[in-house]
Structures are given as C-alpha cells and as structure tokens.
Symmetry: C2
Subunit: 332 residues, 2 copies
C-alpha cells in the first residue's frame, strides 16, 4: 500500500484565507475495523460554506479543528471493507474529503449509481448543490409558474441549477448575475432570459434593467448589495430564499447592506434562511425530476475540475474568488 495524503487546517484565516492556512500531510493508509470501510476518494468537493467552518465560532456545523484534516463531501471507490453490505469496488458518497483515503463506518457512506451519471455529479447536480437549488427555489421560496426569478452567483454550482430548474418549472423570466463576461455568456446559453456582470455597475441598476416588471423570487447566494438590490426590485409578496452570503464570508467589517429592509413591510416580503439538511423530504422528488432532465438533456451542469489533492487549497481559494464555472471539484 502507498501512503495517504491529506490536507490539514494549519491556522485560522483573518479575512481572505491563503495557502498558508493549509498544510499538506502524509500519513499511513488506514485499515478498517469491524463495520468500517476504506474509500479511495476520486473527487472531493470544495464549497463556500467551508469558509465559515475555518472560523472558531459556533454555527450549524462545528468549526474545522486545527492540525487535523478538513472534511467535506467526496465520492470514491471502496478499497477495503469490514462491513457485510459494502463491497470492495462499490462507489460511495460520504463526508470525508480533503484526503486520498477515507476511513469511515459503512453506515456513513451512501452508494451511488454510476450508471445514471458520472460519479462527480453526485457532488453537484445530483448532490447537495442540486438539492439546495431545488428545495430553495421550490420549497423555501415557493416559486410559482409565471413568476420572475433572480439568482446571484448564477454561474456557480447552485445558481446555474436554480436558473435552469426555474425555467423547467415554468418561471416567466429568469435573471442571473455573475462575475465575468464569460459567465454571463454561459448563463445566456443555459437559457437565462437575462444576465449581467455585477462589475458593470450598481447591482440595483443592472437588476432594474433586467427585470423591468420586478422580481417575485430572489435566490440569494451573495448578500450585501445584491440583497439590497433585490429587496428594492421585489414585487408585492415576493420571497427571498437566503442560501448564502459569500460577499461577506471574508469580510472583517460588518456588512453595510441591505439598508432598505423596511421595504419588507409595505411589500409584504418574506426572507427565509435555509440549509439543505432540513429538506430531505423533497429528495425523492428532486432525484426523479433531475434524473429525468439529465436523461432528456433539458438540464446542463458545468464542472470546474482541479487535479491533485495537493491543489485542493488553491481550488478552494479559487472558488472564493469566483474562478469556477459550475461545480468546483478536485480530482484526487
């Protein structure tokens, strides 16, 4: 057996993280005990929420420990098993990314169907980002056919699915914001009715131009000026599903916006924060819908793949800078 390579959290960032916050560590490949398996990871996910876990604050998930491997979603092949119902050669989804070999209880792994889609899809369109988009749009924001939907970070793994699912579920108009001309072009190719680069001017003005009749649903991945602009553009009884606020994950000062929150009264707006973990009840509907859309080609997903576990930190930093199109993955 070869050695196992993994990424540890070396220090907690203040503001933007850097490569120095990570440490590359070589260990022995683990051996499974009773009921355990060892998985050789093929792909691991880097996600914006991981930035919050680098801080030493209580939140909905515990912070990453210092001088220990980070973790997160990964898919890989079982290479050793001491569990009756998991076999060497199986492909499984689990929560111990950021390492080449993961040792875990077999009960913490979920088998994936590699015949339905490439296994990497279980970290994106068929996984947590896909369910986040689906549940946030249809359950949290209760999107109805004919409505106008705005999504920020629209070229990202969640945002690009929000926009497409909105269209597939009958939205009247779908608008996305993104951070480069290439991403804006991609959004148009994905079927967004309008898209803008938020560097091109105040978000409020760009959104007004893209949504002259207002916005009914805003799927927020960004916070800050995007949220303020959306509140300003919302129609009566509009709903905001708050999924993330990446604009401020690396901020060292409290955010200044939204300054127009009082508009929620007269417009009777609803703002709801959510976590995908609460929405397992729609997983079956999600898988049925998405599998069907993937089969008939009506849903497209992008992946930005970085090669090599040693490049996982730079993949994560690139994600925070918006260097990904669609799902950011590391091929281990």
């Amino acid at each position: 057996m070869t050695s196992n390579r993994e990424i540890h959290l070396a220090s907690r960032p203040a503001g933007w993280p850097t490569e120095e916050n990570f440490r590359f560590v070589e260990t022995d490949v683990p051996t499974p005990g009773p009921g355990q398996i060892v998985v050789r990871n093929q792909y691991m996910s880097v996600d914006p929420y991981m930035r919050g876990r680098m801080n030493d604050v209580k939140s909905y998930v515990p912070p990453f420990a210092l001088d220990a491997p980070l973790d997160g979603a990964a898919v890989g092949e079982v290479v050793a098993s001491e569990a009756a119902d998991v076999h060497v050669g199986d492909t499984v989804l689990h929560g111990l990314g950021w390492r080449e070999y993961a040792l875990l209880d077999a009960t913490a792994a979920r088998p994936v169907d590699a015949s339905l889609a490439p296994v990497s899809a279980y970290l994106g369109v068929l996984g947590m980002p896909g369910l986040t988009a689906y549940a946030g749009l249809l359950e949290v924001a209760s999107m109805k056919p004919g409505e106008t939907v705005f999504v920020s970070a629209a070229a990202g793994s969640v945002g690009s699915l929000v926009g497409q699912i909105a269209k597939l579920k009958g939205a009247g108009r779908v608008i996305g914001s993104a951070g480069s001309p290439a991403k804006v072009e991609r959004l148009r190719a994905l079927g967004f009715d309008a898209a803008f680069d938020y560097h091109d001017g105040p978000v409020r003005e760009s959104l007004r131009a893209a949504a002259p009749d207002g916005v009914d649903v805003y799927f927020d991945n960004v916070g800050g000026d995007h949220l303020e602009a959306a509140i300003s553009a919302m129609n009566l009884h509009g709903r905001v599903a708050i999924c993330g606020m990446i604009a401020q994950y690396n901020a060292t000062e409290p955010p200044a916006a939204p300054r127009n929150l009082a508009l929620v009264i007269g417009k009777r707006l609803t703002l709801r924060g959510f976590l995908v973990n609460d929405h397992g009840d729609v997983r079956q509907a999600f898988l049925r819908d998405v599998a069907g859309w993937l089969r008939d080609g009506s849903l497209t997903y992008d992946e930005t793949i970085v090669d090599g576990i040693e490049n996982a930190p730079s993949a994560f930093l690139g994600l925070l800078r918006g260097e990904n199109l669609g799902k950011m993955l590391v091929r281990v």
Copy 2:
C-alpha cells in the same frame, strides 16, 4: 350648524415632523349627497404609519396630499344621512379622521357595537391595532404554545396586545422592551414575564439577560438595534413578524443593516413583513377571541387620550416620541 375644523398637511417634514408641518383650518360642515352620510367624529387615531404618508413617496398607501386634510381611522356618530341603511345616531368606524365632521359614502363606514366596548376601543384593541397584533403573532409568526416571544414598543397599542395575546395563547415566556421605567412597570403588571427599558444598555445585552434560552418569535415594531439583537438571540427556526420600524421613520440617512443578517441561514430564520390589510381572513376569530377576553377581564388595554382636534398634531408628535401608553387617541 357650527363650522367644521380640520387639520391639513401644510408641508412635508424632513426628519422629525413639527407643529409647522400642520395647519388648522375651519370650513363649513358638509351636507350629504345621495348615499352619503356625515359623521361627527368622537375619537380619531394617530398611528406611526402616518409618518410614512407625510413623505412624497409611493408606498402601500398613497402619501397625504399637501393643503388637504390628513386622514386615518376615526369613530363617531352619524349626524346626517342620505343612505337607506345608516341612520342618524348610529356609531360608525371609518377612515376620515383629522376633522370634526366627515362626509363619506355610507358604504365606507362600518357600524360598531357600542354595547360591547367603549367606542374608542374600535380604534385600538377591537380595531386595526388589535388585528395587527393578533394576525402578526398567530398568522405571520405562527406562534406556538410554549415558545418565547419578544416584542418591541411593547407598551404601545400593538405591542401591549401582542404580549398579552401571546400569554393567552400559551406562550412559554413573553419579553417586552419599552422606553421608560413606567412603561416597563406597566408591562410587568400586564403579565409580561420580563421587560426592559432599551435606554438601560445595548438591546442585545438586555435581551440576552431577559431570554437566556433564546427567542422563538420576535414581533418587530422598531427595527434597527432591536431587530439586530433579536436576530442574535433567535433560536433555530425562529420567526420575525416585521410590523414596523419606528426607529427609522424620521431618519434622514439610510439605516445600517442588521449587521448579523447572515445568521438567518444557519438558524433558518424567517423574516416576514406584513400589513394588517392582508389578514381580514382572521378577523372573525380575532373578534371572537378578543371579545371573550375583554368580557372575562383577561385582556387589558391602555389608552392615552388627548383632548381637542386642535391638539391632534401634538398627539401625533408625542406618539412618535413614545409619550403614549397603549393606544394614542384624540377625543375630537
């Protein structure tokens, strides 16, 4: 017949309004046309939302016109009628306060039952403020028995009812904030489990001390630091019913955002702005409950009554400064 006296908007305030923004005008007592009635107002309401209508901005109600009488809820006695089903001597609720004699279509008046409660109650506990408290707490925030409820401006007409209705509907703990020691004392007498004067220190600290196990429902009448403190203290899946943001009605600069808004994600909070107009569907349940509570003495309401139509502007200004206990009314 005597003359009619009414209050006009003389100019639009920038920041805090003053007496100079109002003008006292004498006119003739109107004569009803077909289908119309004339009401001699006995009580008129002053409400925080009227401050917004003094600005020349589009909102959920049109702005007050310059050089014309203001308007708002009032109750009075019909003194002339050209409508078949409304009779001289009837007591009615309608929308043309700020004047002694109101001329209106009979269809715009609602008869009130003066045997159930003093007629002034139809501007408070049995009227718009009562329904606002009831619908906001039970419908918008979906308060459940056993939960902890926090309400700001708790000694005001809406807030004092929110706290009492919460207790009557089984809240586990009810906390109120107010602006003076006398108000805090009054809240304790009304059955609030805890109350604090927001001048006594940062709201965040006072609320934490009053709600050591967190808050499930926040009924927001204030915005600003109260909203930020509530978000900080909220428990998982907490709900905020946003009724008003009086802290900023007279602000000339945009308010800072609640700087902790990102907490709505991990805590899965829901913030909903609402207007009482949307909740007519609970009016029957509201009237049944409140009439019962008034009959058996389990619900108490305070009124601060200012005498004389000529003092309506100062009553309104006093309301904005928090000089009222319970409903602020003008006896015309």
